[in-house]
Symmetry: C2
Subunit: 338 residues, 2 copies
Amino acid sequence: MKHVTIKDIARHLSISVSTVSRALVNDKNVRKETKEKVLNAARELNYKPNPVATNLKYGHSNTVGVIVPEMVTPFASTVVSGIQSVLYAHGIKVIVADSRENPDMERENLRLMEQFMVDGIIVSLCSYRKNREDYLRLQKAGMPMVFYDRIPYGLDVPQVLVDDYRKSFFLVEKLILGGRKKIVHIQGPEDIYNSKERLKGYMDAMAKYKIPVNESTMVIRTGMTFDEGAEAAERLVGSGMDFDAIFAFTDTLAIGVMNRLRELGKRIPDEVAIASFSGTELSTIVYPKLTTVEPPLFQMGEKAAELILEKIKNPACPNRKETVNAEIRMRESSGIRD
Amino acid sequence: MKHVTIKDIARHLSISVSTVSRALVNDKNVRKETKEKVLNAARELNYKPNPVATNLKYGHSNTVGVIVPEMVTPFASTVVSGIQSVLYAHGIKVIVADSRENPDMERENLRLMEQFMVDGIIVSLCSYRKNREDYLRLQKAGMPMVFYDRIPYGLDVPQVLVDDYRKSFFLVEKLILGGRKKIVHIQGPEDIYNSKERLKGYMDAMAKYKIPVNESTMVIRTGMTFDEGAEAAERLVGSGMDFDAIFAFTDTLAIGVMNRLRELGKRIPDEVAIASFSGTELSTIVYPKLTTVEPPLFQMGEKAAELILEKIKNPACPNRKETVNAEIRMRESSGIRD
DNA sequence: GCAGGTTCCGGGAACGTTCCCGCAATCGTT
DNA sequence: AACGATTGCGGGAACGTTCCCGGAACCTGC
């Protein structure tokens, strides 16, 4: 499609390109009448500045890229809303790319953002150890970057995270104090750093109450989807093991587990209590409603946006680490009141 | 961050910028040795072409923008996956912007895409009659555009849609044949065109079986969220009206209605059968599982991508209208077997 | 009435590419 | 051996902006 340019306006008014430019950016060195003429002509010709040209000129794009590991749950979209709300207010556009839990696609997305000359990148990782070299290279090259939720391990980068360990500990403790002893942990993928932390919280809570944990039977490693949760539930029941509670890595997994357990005849929460980390709106639409640790997703987005703004303004500023406070929501699935 | 440019390579090898450019785009007019030298230097200096410059040069960005009305359900994300799968294969990048059911934000997103010089825009509307002038203007200016699912009314544009009317008709007919007579329709927002079509399907199915419909009590207009569905359920029960089935505009609404009805003591599906249009993965994680009309979302994305590719290649090509075949999934919430 | 300062505007370079044009060197043909 | 054709390369314009620089016109103050 044909764009109206500053040149067209200049030609139309038979004045110079420079003057038009000045009029449009509100430079003082233009007569008010000239400015008005230009503004009118711009409106009349339906002129839209071409940001590509100014990007080229200035070397930045007024855009921040967000790379999310998945978009099927409301998790990412809520965080992105938070990001947009603060960045839009600063006149910065937001583009989103989805890695679909695939580190190679994440890498592709990263290159896409780089080539797009975004001013900064906000990332939630697929795997805490893949693509390290790329992130290191980008960081070294001075690209502002912020990580949230699914963060890398041992990299000095700005990040906003939940207190995975403590909140897992407390939630498992609540299950124990509610009378559950045979608590199984659905760990989720091992190459997500948070999964290690949440496991640790589970282990330590169990240890505090001197409940022995056989890691090979009571901790189940799996993926991130409903189906994988359901499958874990089947394996669990199939193994004949005795259990009275589940603590899952995410609500997606927990929902998969819970629904399949019910189909297999388990009464929730009477026979099996269900609880999970990473609660989203999904936790409230299932039956029974899910007890979860609910991170303030919108706020996480806001914080991430603030951190990236800092980095953009001053790339040399120290890498801050923000921890947000996740709420423990006791709902029907655990059979425990607050 | 500092980018390595073609000039840096030229300087480094003390050859001309033109030669470097030719070597990089595989022009024949370069000696193989020279080409290799350039390629090596490019690798060594970690050169990345700056697409902003080529965009400016060629007037396009190799990017397609997708504007979605919401991102909290898996609806949009699944369609976007389909879009990405075909566009990525053509070397076209995809950026996503979320309108959050707000026509003003949609308008903003539209301008963002325009200013980004995307090669085409794929849109699902917030309102079927808002922002018409903008879409018309863009179309007149030659911007390739494709609409899906939530399409505009009476605009000759490429679009991919579901057969709202017929599938609604069939689903309601199934409810009737299953023995339900007092079927309430939760219509959803009136300014979504599909909502008119689905209402018509409902009305005609009821008419076919000579069931009188009092539109003012049996058709409820509301929004799109879980909460609005729940609220509708409350109003319904509060009104004391007798009903034995619900046909809702989307699964989101249906889920809101169903869960609240259960909380209010209604047995699903015995006392009230629930069915809805626009089924996503959410329909299968609730209890009982939801009977829905399930559009092939991924395929819708693929079709939309193909249509936009056509339009990009030849902006003058006729505006095709693709109808995809939505499946009716009978699940527990309706108490009716297929 | 003239030096100096404003005000307003046009010319042109620059951002990183691509590509057309032209020139030199080499090649192939007779 | 001499000529046109081909190959390989550099110069420079162009994409749409911004911005520096310089210059013309005007005003100010003595």
